[in-house]
């Protein structure tokens, strides 16, 4: 029973993280939330008796995917509505003046 | 190798060789070109036997070539015009751009026309038909930017026709299991009724595009007018007759089995009549010789269509005779225009006048051909028209007679305009040093003109092959001589009743000519066409004394309502509307990748929603 509740809870957490990842405007947090999804997913894979997949998901989903997302964000814009980009442009304009 | 096959191959090889020969020597190219036309022509007339079949299988389709008496008649026209116009082309194309291109397409067109006539199965028929279409299309667009729209129009209408035909062909294949024309004709009476009606109609649509019948004629004036004149004489003279060829076959072999055949024939006949009237009216309004002749061609084809659609033996005879005559005189006339264009650089009546002394032989050709066109007795045109009227009256199509008579009369107007425009009227300074066309251009022109005279005197020369052809199609006459049904011919058969009269008229004409020539030899003096001081007034140099501008103004004003909205206009609007719709369909591709993804999901969901009904059980 406790096992069931635990599973339900982490499933809930996972779906919550997914929703958070989609709704969050700050892409960095969104990506980290997606890392959380992968983490929970790998736990779930373990529970579902798939240790190989769990290992892979942990290594690729949690570490590598998250990192390349973060690097991309670093290289482009951090906010979904491109706030800081506009800010940057404003600053550039100010400097130009 | 079979001769028929050899002839086609010779044309093809000739086309390729000629096209490339231009790289080395222009003269060699001209010579090769003439040879490439004449050798197969000679082979055709000496070696080909009737009803000899050559068949082979391509891609699982059995194909057959062979010559029937009926196609023999058309082949005479094609080769006659082809050779004449080829000789003319050498002079005409001299020093013009894209000569190799012209020669290549010219030979290909002739080959395709012969191929159509040889075809005994629908696939080779269609293949040659399409080769003819694109080769002539390439000719139409040859002269620069201006002709592109005309070219597209020509191609679109040809494609409509060809695809209608193709649809008929595949339907035929579905019924008979092969593509042989004879097999289809044999099985036609046993088809389902719907197919029995659908297939001939589709075929007729295909043929009437080439024959420029009314609602499908809009390509013709522009295409005739703007392709090189030397080609137009083949284009209007022979190529359009391929439509007639097909129509006759459909009428005789298919529609005669059909209860509704009469109705279809009448509709086609009326369409032909409308074509004749309206195109004639339009021809009168033209100020450009090429356009005038182009419209006139459409009008003349209208007569022919009337005749073959009526379909009594005599009407058929008349139609085919007129088709041949039309090839001769219209070919000659287009050559005349080409010669004028070559020598003066323009074909506008309002600019060029008074060439009669500069180009006397050209004028002579024009005169004879115009007489033939107008249907004035001594020449061949008259016989055709007479037989047409006679057959219309005999088959109780009185309204059609009136219409045909009206447009025939109206044809006098433009015929006169043509003759007057170029050759008569006052001489202009501008054209003072215009020379006669070169001899290579004159010979074919005159030859065709002589042909018109000859057929006026001896129509049986060509009526006999027509007769044979029609009998082979199924018109059986107990005497084996269909033409005897006309009052023109007496009971002895070959002689025209009017023939003595014709001889008399010609004799009088010639003696008068000779007489005046010899009598006045000393006393005549050439005066300028501006020398009209006898009437008491001395004209100024810039004053325009001829009425070459606004030639038939009152008449045109009278018929204006008829001509105000050309059928062309409707097509253009239709095309514009279609393009607008198509412009909308491409906006489906909005450019936003997310939208595309959304389409995918919507598509998936639609399929899921349809799941039960989608794939059946």
């Amino acid at each position: 029973m406790i096992f069931l509740i635990t599973v339900l809870l982490i499933l809930l957490l996972m779906v919550g993280a997914a929703i958070y990842a989609i709704v969050q405007k700050d892409l960095l947090f969104a990506v980290i939330a997606s890392g959380v999804i992968s983490l929970i997913l790998s736990i779930l894979f373990l529970i579902l008796q798939a240790p190989d997949v769990a290992l892979t998901e942990a290594a690729i989903g949690v570490a590598l995917t998250t990192i390349i997302f973060i690097i991309t964000i670093r290289n482009t814009v951090r906010y979904e509505d491109e706030r800081n980009k506009k800010k940057k442009q404003k600053n550039v304009k100010k400097l130009a003046k | 190798m079979n001769v028929i096959f050899l002839i086609l191959i010779l044309f093809l090889v000739g086309a390729i060789v000629t096209a490339f020969a231009g790289k080395w020597s222009s003269l060699l190219q001209d010579g090769l070109f003439i040879l490439a036309v004449t050798i197969p022509a000679v082979l055709f007339f000496t070696q080909v036997e009737m009803n000899q079949l050559v068949g082979w299988t391509r891609g699982g389709i059995h194909l057959e070539l062979g010559l029937t008496p009926f196609s023999y008649f058309f082949a005479i026209l094609v080769l006659l015009l082809g050779v004449a116009s080829a000789i003319y082309s050498v002079g005409f194309m001299h020093g013009k751009a894209r000569k190799s291109y012209y020669y290549f397409n010219y030979l290909l067109t002739i080959m395709a026309m012969l191929g159509i006539l040889f075809s005994r199965d629908f696939i080779s028929f269609f293949v040659f038909w399409e080769i003819m279409t694109w080769a002539s299309y390439l000719m139409v667009v040859m002269n620069g930017t201006r002709t592109q729209e005309i070219g597209i129009k020509y191609f679109v209408f040809s494609a409509i026709g060809a695809y209608a035909m193709l649809m008929a062909i595949v339907l035929i294949h579905a019924q008979t299991g092969n593509f042989l024309i004879q097999d289809f004709i044999d099985t036609y009476p046993s088809l389902a009724h719907g197919r029995q009606i659908l297939i001939p109609i589709l075929l007729l649509v295909g043929f009437s595009v080439k024959a420029a019948v009314m609602p499908l004629h809009v390509w013709a004036p522009g295409s005739y007018a703007y392709s090189p004149m030397s080609f137009t004489s083949v284009f209007s003279g022979a190529l359009s007759k391929m439509g007639i060829y097909g129509m006759v076959i459909v009428f005789v072999t298919l529609l005669s089995h059909l209860p509704e055949g009469g109705l279809i024939r009448d509709i086609i006949a009326w369409m032909g009549a409308m074509t004749a009237v309206i195109a004639t009216l339009w021809a009168i309004a033209q100020d450009d010789a090429r356009k005038l002749l182009a419209y006139s061609s459409v009008g003349q084809l209208g007569y022919i269509v009337i005749a073959v659609a009526i379909g009594t033996p005599m009407a058929m005879l008349a139609g085919l005779f007129m088709a041949f005559m039309h090839g001769l005189f219209k070919g000659a006339l287009f050559m005349v225009v080409g010669a004028v264009e070559k020598q003066t650089g323009t074909t506008d009546f309002t600019k060029v006048t008074g060439l009669i002394r500069k180009m006397p032989w050209t004028f002579l050709t024009a005169l004879i051909s115009i007489i033939a066109l107008a249907g004035i007795p001594p020449l061949g045109g008259f016989i055709g028209k007479w037989m047409l009227y006679e057959s219309l009256i005999l088959s109780d199509h009185y309204l059609l007679v009136i219409v045909a008579f009206f447009s025939s009369t109206a044809a006098f107007l433009y015929a006169y305009k043509f003759l007057f425009g170029f050759f008569l009227g006052q001489e202009e300074e501008e054209w003072a040093d215009v020379k006669e066309a070169p001899i290579t251009m004159l010979i074919p022109m005159l030859a065709l003109a002589v042909g018109s005279i000859l057929l006026g005197a001896f129509p049986q020369l060509i009526l006999k092959p027509i007769n044979n052809g029609l009998i082979s199609l199924g018109f059986s006459d107990s005497y084996g001589k269909l033409w005897e049904t006309s009052t023109l011919f007496n009971e002895w058969g070959d002689k025209v009743v009017l023939q003595p009269i014709i001889y008399a008229i010609m004799g009088v004409f010639l003696t008068t000519l000779a007489f005046t020539y010899f009598r006045n030899r000393k006393r005549t003096r050439y005066v300028s066409t501006k020398d009209i001081s006898t009437s008491g007034e001395i004209p100024l140099a810039h004053e325009n004394l001829t009425f070459k501008e606004n030639f038939f103004q009152p008449f045109l004003r009278a018929v204006e309502p008829v001509m105000k909205k050309q059928i062309d206009w409707y097509y253009r609007e239709f095309g514009a509307g279609l393009e607008a719709i198509f412009n909308f369909t491409r906006r489906i591709y909005s450019g936003n990748g997310q939208t595309y993804a959304l389409y995918a999901v919507i598509f998936l969901i639609v399929l899921l929603l349809l799941n039960g009904n989608l794939f059946g059980q």
Partner: protein
């Protein structure tokens, strides 16, 4: 507006997906006579590989794995093509966070053990959970750690190319060896040994090690490419 349309569409899609999958009973066998029975029994009895997933990935469906390695190779190639710049305007590596010395020395200490773990994982791929992909990824994360913490840490590009090329070629060559010696591509050409031995399963272990090296090299290449990108 579009949001609601999409939500509506997704509701329908969700309904159908749920209805499809609820038809498949959870936790119960869905079919009889599937190939999985053959896989499980032959991996134990014929191939002597204790990890059935490894047996499937490397042997039964080894062709998929070859394709998969190719996909990684392709995406590394495609990425470096996509982000290609002429040599003179390659930017400096972007570091995400300036690393403190604690992190740096920690990373230095962790790196060998991470690499060792990765190698352990792919060497024991046929015995225990894990294998080439997992081990390769773990090694790649080790390198990632170093790349992130040390600004001038660099991996020799040529060496990466060597590793990935040789590993990939050996994979194919072993496959071809099976084809020429036994008649079918990727067929086992070595003695299979005993279940649960390190040297069991014939070529399976070797191939998985190669896959591990290749995956590691590809992933490091991918990370390296994207790290050297400056927006």
């Amino acid at each position: 507006m579009k949001k609601y349309i999409v939500l509506g569409l997704l509701a329908v899609l969700g309904y159908y997906l749920m209805s499809i999958f609820l038809l498949v009973d959870f936790g119960l066998p869905h079919f009889a006579h599937g190939v999985k029975d053959v896989y499980l029994s032959s991996s134990k009895n014929i191939l002597k590989v204790s990890n059935a997933v490894t047996a499937i990935v490397v042997n039964f469906r080894g062709f998929d794995t070859l394709g998969e390695v190719t996909v990684l190779f392709l995406s590394a190639t495609a990425m470096s093509g996509i982000l290609y710049k002429k040599r003179h305007d390659i930017g400096e590596r972007s570091i995400l966070f300036p690393a403190s010395s604690i992190i740096r020395s920690g990373a230095k200490m962790l790196f060998p053990s991470i690499t060792l773990l990765g190698i352990y994982v792919f060497i024991h791929g046929h015995l225990s959970p894990g294998g080439g992909f997992q081990g390769g990824t773990i090694i790649a994360t080790g390198f990632l750690l170093m790349l992130l913490t040390y600004q001038n840490y660099s991996v020799s590009h040529n060496r990466l190319v060597w590793v990935e090329s040789v590993a990939g070629m050996l994979f194919v060559i072993i496959g071809l060896a099976g084809y020429f010696m036994k008649g079918s591509f990727l067929e086992n050409v070595l003695p299979v040994g005993e279940l649960n031995d390190l040297f069991s399963g014939g070529v399976i272990g070797i191939i998985y090690v190669l896959v591990g090296f290749k995956v590691a090299a590809e992933l490091i290449g991918i990370i390296y490419t994207i790290l050297h990108e400056k927006g």
